[in-house]
Symmetry: C2
Subunit: 322 residues, 2 copies
């Protein structure tokens, strides 16, 4: 039995787990990501986290032989480099992820974008285990995704695949079609799924239609008001969910995944959102896709850690020079 | 050097070509598809076409050793069966394509959907030759497509992938957003790309806005009027092209293909459509995709025949019992 380390590095926290070849997380640990301290500091802290896990493993007689890291940003999986990244982590673009971790830990390392890692984890040992292909759609602060076919995340020609939040949604146009005003999107464009369906979009949409002194402070508050029967909140949430479901259904018509896994804070907000989302998705599906399963991710699972570990298992278990 | 037969079987015509391992069509022939005569008659006629090509090849000292067929309909590429099909070919669903052609010709046979064959042909020896991945979008009577990664068309879990015309487009809503009236789509749904961007959609949109005695008789007439400066035609064509380009740009953000090939009668209608399409696509692209190439298919090429032949080359060159 092989053992590897899987890492999930995001803008706020970094999780790592010791994972066995059969897809179990044996022990895990997490630290806040030092997102304002620069790439070297983040790599140092991540390596410390890994070495601590390895010591715990060795105390139990287990030796990990490789590292996989899923990281925020566009990641060149072949060279192990951060191609580009948002401001969530200062100075992250250009970081030599695999080289940096290999030098610090002495273990072979491989890297991938964190959403692709998440999808790979769901495909390997999560909500989509046993399926030949899975479309993951993550709905939270942004709307992202990944399409895994035969256990391989489709990373794209520029490692930029998976931006499922950045295509046009009729719901992202204000009471009017493409000839009218489109909601601005985080990408700089407008009229995209993310501009209507993300958590911040839900908050923004709600606060625009209620009196200022009744504004919600965060997305969860909008969900809570919707659950309590607030009509404006109900409308905003169901519209965001319908936009997401319509996008998922249309994407399924194009990709024909065996199963769709929907994850993220917005997706986990409750049945009001989930039911509106699945209704809109079903309305969109072609007859050939009528049996498509759309399932929630298990929020308690370490899917991204598992996916990063799965990738590490593709490496030869050879120690590199440290 | 191996030689195989590639077949492109559509609702109106069936083309076949003798193709060499290096991607050249050495000779080709075509017949009308006997679309109303039933599956057995179509298979008989197709086999006759193949045997005629083989005799021509043998006269030149060339022996073809396998057959690939790209066919209209949803094709189970593993079992070589037509899963479902439109009315364009009567009784086509359920046809055992590969068994039927193997029994009639004595050659090993493999099958795939015709749009996937087309994309594979463009990827192998056409407009996208040398690219690691290609998104083909075909805009004609319908809007279809295929995504080829590393020379493999992504057929989907149910062999239903590629319905790129059946996702929501803001342009397919009448002067209003998702809360308003959506244009009906050929799939039975509404508000889809195909409902605004296909050839019939262009004709229909135009004839709705002009006086009945000025109606156009076909899509080409609408293009001709647009080229001559007819304002209604210009608006309809540019709107259809923008819907298509917006869809292509959004899809590229999700799939990150190295190159996009756009084919079909509408795509070949001229610079008015093409320029509006590429403008809309560019407006949609994320910065990471800024270098995306969007190129026209070569309408004179036998891309689908080539793609079907490429698939035949994956078969062992073994004669099956006839």
């Amino acid at each position: 039995m092989r053992y590897v380390i899987g890492i999930d590095l995001g803008g706020t926290k970094t999780a790592a787990g010791l994972v066995s070849e059969d897809g179990r997380v044996l022990c895990a640990s997490r630290i806040p990501t030092a997102a304002r301290d620069g790439a070297e500091a983040i790599l140092d802290a991540t390596a410390t986290l890994v070495l601590r896990l390895m010591r715990r493993a060795e105390a139990a007689g287990i030796v990990a032989d490789a590292i996989g890291i899923g990281s925020a940003g566009v990641i060149d999986g072949e060279r192990g480099i951060v191609v580009s990244a948002t401001d969530a982590i200062s100075g992250w673009a250009g970081t030599r992820l695999t080289d940096g971790l290999q030098a610090r830990t002495g273990l072979a390392c491989t890297a991938i974008n964190d959403v692709h890692a998440h999808a790979l984890g769901e495909s390997w040992a999560g909500a989509a285990a046993g399926s030949s292909s899975v479309l993951l759609v993550a709905v939270g602060t942004g709307v992202g995704g990944s399409f895994v076919v035969d256990g391989v995340p489709q990373q794209g020609a520029r490692f930029a695949a998976g931006h499922v939040g950045h295509f046009a949604s009729p719901y992202a146009y204000e009471d009017a079609s493409a000839s009218a005003v489109a909601l601005p999107c985080s990408c700089g464009g407008a009229g995209h799924v993310e501009a209507i369906a993300s958590g911040p979009a839900i908050l923004h949409s709600y606060n625009r239609v209620v009196p200022p002194d009744n504004a919600a402070s965060d997305t969860q508050a909008v969900f809570a008001r919707a659950a309590a029967g607030d009509q404006a909140a109900l409308l905003v949430v169901s519209r965001a969910a319908a936009a997401c479901g319509q996008a998922i259904g249309g994407l399924a018509n194009i990709l024909d995944p065996e199963v769709v896994v929907v994850s993220g804070g917005v997706a986990g907000a409750g049945p009001l959102w989930w039911d509106a989302m699945t209704r809109a998705a079903s309305a969109e599906l072609l007859p050939a896709l009528a049996d498509l399963r759309i399932v929630p991710a298990n929020p308690a699972s370490d899917a991204a850690v598992l996916g990063a570990a799965r990738l590490a298992l593709t490496l030869d278990p050879v120690k590199v020079a440290s």
